[in-house]
Symmetry: C2
Subunit: 483 residues, 2 copies
Amino acid sequence: MRLRVKEVNLSAGHVLIAILSKEDAKHLDVNANDRIDINGTKVIVNVSSKGVSKGTIGLFEESLKTLKLKPNEFVNVKTSAKPRGIEYIEKKLRGKKLEKEEIERIIQEVVKNELNEAEIAYFISGCYTRGMSDEEIIYLTNAMVKSGKILNTKNKKVLDKHCVGGVPGNRTSMIIAPIVAAAGFVMPKTSTRSITSPSGTADTMETLADVSLTKEKIEKVIKKTNACLVWGGALDLANADQPIIRVERFLMLDIQPILLSSILSKKKSVNAQYVIVDIPIGKTAKIKSKRTANVLKRRFIKIGKLLGMKIKVVITDGSQPVGNGIGPVLEAIDVLNVLRGDGPKDLMDKSIFLATELLDLAGVKHARSKVLNILNSGKAYEKMKEIIKAQGKNVHRLKVGKYFKIIQASKSGIISEIDNERLSKLARILGSPEDKGAGIYLSVKKGYKVKKQQPIFTMYAESKKKLEFALEELDERYPMKIV
Amino acid sequence: MRLRVKEVNLSAGHVLIAILSKEDAKHLDVNANDRIDINGTKVIVNVSSKGVSKGTIGLFEESLKTLKLKPNEFVNVKTSAKPRGIEYIEKKLRGKKLEKEEIERIIQEVVKNELNEAEIAYFISGCYTRGMSDEEIIYLTNAMVKSGKILNTKNKKVLDKHCVGGVPGNRTSMIIAPIVAAAGFVMPKTSTRSITSPSGTADTMETLADVSLTKEKIEKVIKKTNACLVWGGALDLANADQPIIRVERFLMLDIQPILLSSILSKKKSVNAQYVIVDIPIGKTAKIKSKRTANVLKRRFIKIGKLLGMKIKVVITDGSQPVGNGIGPVLEAIDVLNVLRGDGPKDLMDKSIFLATELLDLAGVKHARSKVLNILNSGKAYEKMKEIIKAQGKNVHRLKVGKYFKIIQASKSGIISEIDNERLSKLARILGSPEDKGAGIYLSVKKGYKVKKQQPIFTMYAESKKKLEFALEELDERYPMKIV
């Protein structure tokens, strides 16, 4: 059937969708969510009584690009079988183990946007409720690696670090990477931008340097400096990861096999050989129980080994933010202070600990004194400046928001609890991470003794309105407890 | 935040979606698939870089209707927590039993279109992989009943019949309903239209009478004739059923708890007290194994009892079509012939068997001779004419498609297999169910001895093109096997 292409002036998210008139859909014998074939690509059908008339096919801008079509062009449209991956998703839901080829097929179809969100949800459900064997996770990880590019690190010794997240601040990567690089190893650190947190490592690094680098540029930066601190999303590493994580986020469940594959595939895509994984646990962190952390730890190590990576997992305190700053600029200030030998003690201690464990894992003798030496001699700070220069210094200035409010203790006592989630929410309302200078700077941590009216934290915003919104939120949900 | 309403000239399917500009989404701190609150209703966010500018909110026609809004009106938009049902969906996925209130909440949110398709898929996955207890199915069934209207049957003895489907032809309901009504009982038969089959009972009945009747009109028809044969979709029975079934159909799995609740809720919504359930099994039928059929049978009876319904389940032969006609008009011809005491023997025998079982279940003595008497005396045929008159005679004429092709046996032998799925596909290509006169008329059934070039079936179409398409399909996939 030949149809005229009509551009639909909307974005459809990521899935490939074609809008057909009721008449043409009937003629093709397709219903909503069936598939049609356009030039060999399977596209999901949407049937509309409006906007698209008989003889035309509505396509969103992204779909036009993917399908290499132009408005008013004529295309041949055929009915098409459902993606074969659906069959394997059903198999997983029935509780059967999937073969390598089956998982590869699913991942290929995810990358080609041939599966809709409900179908991806079925896949995630199958992985979650039926669990996945180590082999299946390896197949999934390798399929994800295959779905994207692989960083060329020229056979150097590559070290990496990952934190499963959920703790505000906690910008240890920006301290560890320069240390590792200064020690003579390669650390190609790719990070995420924040989705629900006040800042991701990529957001914070962006206050100092460009982070949206191409693969080629990153390889140059690494060649020059031994390290990078970039946004992983600008690369095409483990592409299949993104649509899956997007649908996974509809729930608050930790889907372990997905978590493992997602992290390990990104490490494999940069050729990491030695990886330290940080699992902070705490009531308001991502991982809440020691038991879950331990299960995850064992699997990380075992599957990592099968994938050719030496992994060490450390379970750390996630009961409060690490460092004082929350929000891109405020966190960057903490990081630079630590690299200059100053800065929040908890952030410095944790960074030294993780860097030591990582070098030790890579076979470095007397790792701790080496790390301390690199940090105290200023070599790490120098390395960071090199990295910033190589990535391209950013126009962003380290300027905190001009509207601020110092929050004082409502009574004398001891800080008994700090709520990560509430602090994150507050920082986001203040404007983080888009408003780089917005966020929170903590003056106290858990266990601190405070006097009534002593400043406990400061809220920064780049607009008066956002500061007001944050103050309203603060009235409703207070992020600290004084007893 | 106040935004101006913009109508988006497309249909969004069923889910309530609002399209925000990137800027406004940032300001509200919402991402795609988060929820916003518009006049107390939760609406799913879609963020678009095109089509919707800052300060406006894009809404599809259906959403405008649901939210009672007009283009260019200003609305207050607030961020909103995710629907609470998601928490219970997670609970089910974790393998926990759901409480009555939790299932009710999920169903309410399904009906209000607050859950997106992926979230519904997660719910279905939970029900499938973790299973549901009898209590949970009862909660689900009652929640579905509550989600729609209930037919008023004035405390009469209500009998009903359901077939789980998958066998072409098989229009027994149109024979059983008049028999039951003539026997003095009420049978308010609501049926589906075809989605993937060549014809549903509603499609076939539509060749004889109106089937899209309002609840009030149906109640009048029943008062007058004791029965009806209508399309259930025009009523609002068990509303939550539709979105769930839609998402379930993305897979080919039989999700038993959903199947049970879906069927039982519709029976409860018409106040059925005695129900016969027909489960045809066969290699190319919906239910393929005796084991699955037996599990389903036990649960139907048990749960039906707990819901106050007396249910009898019969497992029948689903290895080939029942009757000779496949397609609305061709099936209607079979039905009328059986009611006049003629017609395909298998359709007649099965209808007599099911009607007998149903009357017997309702306590009728000598049910079989009563059924035979009603049929042979012409009372059933007279009752059918009454029902057609009461529902409103339709303009459709019982005219088969004017293009036809008689298919002959390619060799002499015995018909050893008839493939339901291939016949269905063929009939749909010929134009069923939209082209009422299109379809297939079988001249032979399994076990028949045929000579080479003896006619085995006839294909009818209302357009020459469709007949040609069907002939091409026939070349590729032949629906009968001769040995």
